[in-house]
Amino acid sequence: MTSFNHMQQEAKEIFAANGWPNKRNEDWHYTDLSARLPSSFQNQSLELSEDVRLDKLTCDIEDALQLDFINGLLTEVEELPDGLEISALIDHPELVQQSDEDVTDPLLYANLAHLETGIVIDVSQVIEEPMEIHFHNTSSEEASFVRIVFRLAEGASLTLLESHSGWGHTQLVSDVYQHEDSMLRHLRLHQAEDTQVSLLLNRVSLDARAQYHNVAISLSGGLGRLETRVTFNAPGSHAGLATALLSRGKQHIDITTRLNHLSADTTSDTVARTILDDEACGIFQGKVIVHQDAQRVEATQKSDALMLSADAMMNVKPELEIYADDVACAHGSAIGEIDHEALFFLRSRGIGEEAARIMLVEGFVSEILGRLDDFAAGAVLQENLLKRVATFLKKSA
């Protein structure tokens, strides 16, 4: 077994040689990182004041388990309930690299080369209380390089509420291994400052009947890439990916998904709703791969964008690679503007123009928020997120 330090050393060398991906890399055509990111980072010492702690973004869920990463370092861990265990990634070198491909994947070598904190979270049973994980950078000089491996045992389940705020640069790799009949509900809330760069990679591996439900909401941040890769290893596994992106100014937000249906009888459902104002740029790259023996796969993928400004830009790149014959795969995408007739209808009922616009946009993202219905504390989350969306739209209008 290669040691952790050895793998990290190798990653540093590859990063030094290759750096960040640029336009010439097909997966990064629309999001050229080499133009946006420095080639080296200094890991700052951790200086925390109480104010900072209060300022971070939270999902406001009472009784949630809390994990805080400030500037890439895990601050404190409260006592964990039965069925949850946290250990250091450095003690699990076998979990660091999944395949040879990882060695040359820019998000993975960059993460490993700079890694500040790596942990493994083992979930061995049904956990009732949601787990909140906050990532916060305290200044634009700060960078967070974190890797978390989640392992859900057979029949285990967890609701994970992840949020990102602050400045600087965050690069998170979350590796999720779900055993048979396990369930992970994963909310990802991204509401960072305009200068922040967030590269969030989610890799999920599903065994028989395992279910992964992801709801991602991005409300700001300078540059964001929310990438999710799911591998369906056995029948009955399912992934639902629902994303709402709201972007304005010169923000650049990229949602990339890769769903790899290795096994027959697996299903996936991807929905993205993007709202772009000013000169914001949105990207949806959705790839579905259905392998030759993976019969009876159902995979649907839908991307809708609502353009609030003529200067905003949306790029959509759907890719279906289907090698099995008995499958039901569908892709749909639409790019549109606010429906003027609907706007008039609402105004004719006394609702002011701004409020009517907000109502239509909220309606547009409500399908995504609706996916939180089954989450622990789902109603509170929805209300809280709807408020954030409304605040965002008011600033935008």
């Binding site: 004719s348 009922r349 547009f364 993202v365």
Partner: protein, 253 residues
């Protein structure tokens, strides 16, 4: 006494084409007027221009509600001033529940009129009662606005909006189209419940049938962008028999 709604020599163009060509009509408080007329004669155009829709340019004439010109007034302020249009084709709004919409609307209008907003509980009671009278069940209130509603349900939902907003002047654009006999009665009852000495109504329809239930005081025939004939309720019966041929001819000539 001045009229509640007074339309004076109204000329309206849509995309540079003149659709209304000098239309005049006035409705006093307490009156119900019906407008009938062939397809394409400008009935919906009139209703949209009253409600203040973009793209309907008034090139001449004026519209007064309680003596105040509506020209240049935005749609929300017209609603606050007491104008209501039941749409010929109600819009579907995904993701916004009927209840949220109704509450936002009622409270926006109340705020605009300087009245106190309704709290959630009293509003719920208020809406449920009105919905029940229109035989719209609770489920319809929870669903996204008009999404997946049948034609008849959409029309009943328009009348529900009218009932909760309690406008001064209501314009109903073909609210009867697409309704079965029972729904027609329900809708007519809803409308009749709102008839009162303070309120005016303009009922646009193609069919005498509706006017059996909502008895108009006055019937107008709109053809070629003008009112070509005004009469009593009898006029509608006459039209039922002989059609528009006589009136359409007059305008062309």
């Amino acid at each position: 006494m001045s009229a509640l709604l007074e339309i004076k020599n109204l000329h309206v163009s849509v995309a540079d084409t003149e659709i209304l060509k000098g239309l005049s009509l006035s409705v006093s408080a307490g009156e119900v007027h019906a407008i009938m007329g062939p397809n394409g004669s400008g009935k919906s155009t009139l209703s949209y221009v009253l409600a203040g829709r973009d793209g309907y340019e008034i090139t001449n004439g004026d519209i007064l509600l309680n003596g105040v010109s509506l020209k240049g007034m935005n749609p929300e302020d017209r609603a606050i001033a007491g104008l209501f249009l039941a749409f010929q084709y109600p819009l579907e709004i995904p993701g916004v529940t009927n209840m949220t919409f109704l509450k936002t609307s009622v409270n926006a209008v109340r705020r605009g009129r300087g009245e106190e907003e309704m709290d959630a509980a009293s509003f719920l009671r208020f809406v449920r009662e009105k919905a029940k009278a229109l035989r719209l069940d609770d489920d319809m209130l929870k669903r996204p606005l008009n999404v997946g509603f049948s034609g008849g349900e959409k029309k009943r939902n328009e009348i529900l909006q009218m009932s909760v907003l309690e406008p001064l002047m209501a314009i109903l654009d073909e609210t009867d189209s697409g309704l079965d006999i029972d729904a027609l009665k329900t809708v007519a009852e809803g409308v009749n419940a709102l008839r009162d000495t303070q309120r005016g109504m303009l009922v646009i329809t193609h069919y005498q049938r509706l006017l059996d239930y909502i008895k108009p005081d006055i019937v107008h025939i709109l053809a070629g962008g003008q009112i070509v004939k005004t009469g009593s309720a009898e006029l509608a019966l006459e039209l039922e028999k002989s059609g528009y041929a006589d009136y359409v001819g007059e305008v062309v000539a």
